[in-house]
Amino acid sequence: MRWRYILHTIAIMCLFFGLTMMLPLVVGLYYRDQSVAPLLKSMAITVFSGLALHFLFRSGKAEVISQREGMAIVAIGWTAVGLFGALPFYFDSGFERFVDAVFESVSGFTTTGASILTNIEGVSKGLLFWRSFIQWLGGMGIIVLSVAILPFLGVGGMQLYKAEVPSPVPDKLKPRIRDTAMILWKVYALISLAQTALLLLGGMSLFDAVCHTFTTMPTGGFSTKNASIAHFDSVYFDCVFIFFMLMAGINFSLHYQFLRGKPLVFWQDSECRFFLGAVLVLTVVVSINLYGSVYTGIGSALRYGAFQVVSIITTTGFATADYELWPAMTQLILLLCMFIGASAGSTGGGMKCLRIMLCFKYCYRELFNLIHPHAVSPIKIGGKSVPDDVMRSVVGFLALYMGLFAISSVALAGLGVDFTTSFAAIAASIGNIGPGFGMVGPVDNYARIPYMGKWLLIWCMLLGRLEIFTVIILVVPEFWRK
């Protein structure tokens, strides 16, 4: 481990990140609100820290970085960005304790969308913009953005990319990692632009349209309204959001291929089929369950049911209804959706459809081999067999995910939180969803979680966003051994 190099890379990232605070600053200046001072202060601190680290470790240069160093850079980099991103919140009067600011910031970067704010509409515009903007940055990945823009990361880029991009087998769209990162960001920006346009067309204000786009595309879920999307109460907006949440939940390399003129690509990809199929089936089941018991019309049952299923399975976490008042079966389905998550290579969280599929196929193979003990039956995805090491890492991931979920929820309950809430808060944090059940339901927030509980949830959000391994490896003693 070459710490000079790791810290130097992180220094450059901080510097770069500090400069992105210009954008909310412009918004703050435009609205002349009280966010200007906190943003200026935070920007100064971030840029200064970046510069200081840069000069301290400037001798750190490396041609090639190891996988281990890549993981360290990503995990520590994300932590640093989470802390620096919390500064604007901390300097604002609305956040009393530092942990609250960090919670809001990390929840933003990891695209969780869990908030401790009770009165969102009371927060200044500049900060609200910042809150949405960090979700947008975190969605496609701050490291992927750095790889795309900062040339010096080119050589070690692949290691960083692998550590950040949520996928069991990261696709390389182009021979150079820089071009790949650039394409992903371009596609991401393009779809975001389309969404903003459609929201404006429906009559939303520019500020709200941009902020909501910034939280839809990364499947984040922050809203500028207390009542989330329910505030707008419009079928048109609901449809736009459903459509773009689904887009965000699909592997972005498919979007790229689609834009390159392959219209059938969504149907040809088996994971995408699985994902859309699951959404369809669950929507139908939920709507039937809601029809009659909650909503009298089939139309509104479908509208609210579909929105909530899509919102949760893509791990966005927008709400148009209080699903805690819905029947138990629907609630359980939504809870399961939190675990399934979106597609690999998308901006969504959760376990990812690809892993679930592989797990199903793995189980089926075990059964199949009991019947045909001599059969050679490789696990295939899209006609190609999956290498054993990928399969191993998938099984390892699922086991770690469930294990960490179990331990964390017990720990949260140990801090005095009730049964449903501990269970749901951890599931919603580790899956990067946002709203859960109980104390943290869609109409509540995370403000009443105890102090230590918030740190625990912050840790879970990071675990979930960086797909467990990159973060958990930091607490393995072997990682630090020379």
Binding site: M158, K172, K174, P175, R176
Partner: protein
């Protein structure tokens, strides 16, 4: 859009060519059907990888053969390489094709492959290149490394600087005073495995591997400055009678050098004995002391170890040296051993892989760049290029050109004269310039020559 190159085969040759080209801002796609080899590439290099056989049309299409400029087929199997080129020729006829073909049986058909069937633009046979290299090394006394430019009129030579040399400890600035009239241009120095492009104030140290440029006819004078004198080679012993050993023996026969060849496999010995007339074929173990002294190893001018097992080669060379052979040349393929050679006393090393890489790079860079040779394994390249009128380097003294760090002009060839440059020299349009450059300086050199290095 960068230039796109597909490399079939992720072995040692494919890996190193990919690493070269990826650093030079080319879009590289590497194919191999061995997932382990592919993993090594994707872990270490910024290139795209595809797992699958390079001879399969489906895989080649997946790798994007249609928009590739060049395909390099460098797997271990001649057949795979040929089929890959054949398939590429069908799918994408405009893609330039280069294949590594080693089997001597194909030798007579190279022209055919080029003009008729798969239209392979270049066929590389590293065995031939290695034999050429060995022959060059034999002809230049004391040289550790040797390359040629301007059709052999200009040589670049690497020699070890011994303790007793008058140059040891001298500053480059002071060289003219020490050596008098003869001009000597030191292009690069390898010290402790680091390749340095030295400046005037740097000193030479004993133990350095010094690279210099010299005209062909003045080479022996220059070598004498380093206390290396010519002694005619008359007797050679080759250990290992594989493809390279056989080719070398044939070449030595042509040059009337008395040659013995030791081969372990009796059947192979019969094969060799049938085909070689003057060479004495010995059946036995090349590291057997008894056999070596029986065959008068102490009188051998040069011992060349060429078995396929590099550990055996190293030990056999050391043994031969100890038993009195004047000079040894050792075949080593594993690049990770190169830094060791100096320390364990192996003087001259040849590597079919390095030869293959050199000639492939050289062929890939045709156009305004005439030839390129990579030295010291990988760290630097010598490039011979034509100075274009439009480029930044012409018509002003070299002093005023801002050359990138780690690069220098080592020679200027103007029609028939060769200029060893000083700060005052001026490059004129259409001169051929020879540039020494560390790997990382190469993209900048491309820029300075004001043309993209044209590929093919």
């Amino acid at each position: 859009m960068y230039l796109k190159i597909i490399i079939v085969g992720a072995g040692e040759v494919g890996f190193h060519i990919a690493s070269h080209l990826a650093l030079e801002n080319k879009d590289v796609v590497v194919l191999d059907n061995n997932p382990e080899a592919i993993r090594r590439v994707s872990d270490h290099l910024d290139v795209q990888v595809v797992t699958g056989s390079g001879s399969s049309p489906v895989v080649l299409e997946e790798a994007g053969i249609q928009d590739a400029e060049i395909i390099l087929a460098v797997t271990n199997s001649d057949e795979t390489n040929l089929v890959a080129c054949l398939v590429a020729n069908i799918i994408s006829p405009s893609t330039k094709k280069l294949a590594r073909v080693r089997n001597a049986d194909f030798d007579a058909y190279h022209g055919h492959f080029r003009e008729v069937a798969p239209h392979i633009d270049t066929i590389i046979n590293p065995d031939i290149e290695v034999v050429k290299t060995i022959h060059r090394m034999m002809s230049v006394p004391g040289a550790v490394d040797i390359g040629e430019f301007a059709d052999g009129r200009l040589k670049f030579v690497g020699v070890n600087l011994e303790n007793d040399s008058q140059l040891a400890g001298a500053r480059l600035l002071d060289l003219p005073q020490i050596i008098g009239k003869a001009r000597l241009l030191i292009a690069a120095v390898v010290r402790e495995d680091e390749l340095i492009i030295p400046r005037g104030k740097d000193r030479l140290k004993s133990g350095d591997l010094v690279y210099f440029i010299s005209e062909e006819d003045k080479l022996l004078d220059t070598l004498s400055l380093f206390n290396k004198f010519e002694q005619p080679l008359k007797r050679a012993l080759v250990i290992g009678g594989g493809r390279i050993g056989y080719r070398l023996a044939r070449l030595l026969e042509e040059h009337s050098i008395y040659c013995k060849i030791i081969e372990r496999n009796p059947d192979r010995c019969t094969y060799l004995a049938e085909r070689l007339n003057k060479t004495i074929v010995l059946s036995g173990d090349g590291s057997d002391q008894g056999l070596l002294s029986e065959e008068n190893i102490q009188d051998m001018d040069v011992v060349i170890t060429l078995t396929s097992d590099e550990e055996t080669n190293i030990l056999a060379s050391l043994l031969a040296k100890r038993m009195g052979a004047r000079k040894t040349i050792t075949r080593i393929s594993k690049f990770s051993y190169f830094p060791l050679t100096n320390a364990i006393g192996i003087e001259q090393v040849v590597s079919p892989r390095l030869s293959a890489i050199n000639s492939i790079l050289q062929h890939v860079r045709k156009g305004k760049v005439l030839s390129a040779i990579s030295i010291k394994g990988e760290q630097a390249e010598v490039i011979e290029a034509v100075a274009l009128e439009t480029s930044d380097i012409v018509e002003k003294p070299l002093r005023e050109i801002s050359f990138p760090k780690g690069a220098m002009v080592a020679g200027i060839i103007r029609k028939d004269t060769i200029v060893v440059p000083t700060g005052e020299s001026i490059i004129q349009p259409d001169d051929r310039v020879i540039i020494f450059a560390r790997k990382e300086a190469i993209p900048k050199i491309e820029k300075i020559l004001s043309v993209k290095l044209e590929y093919f």
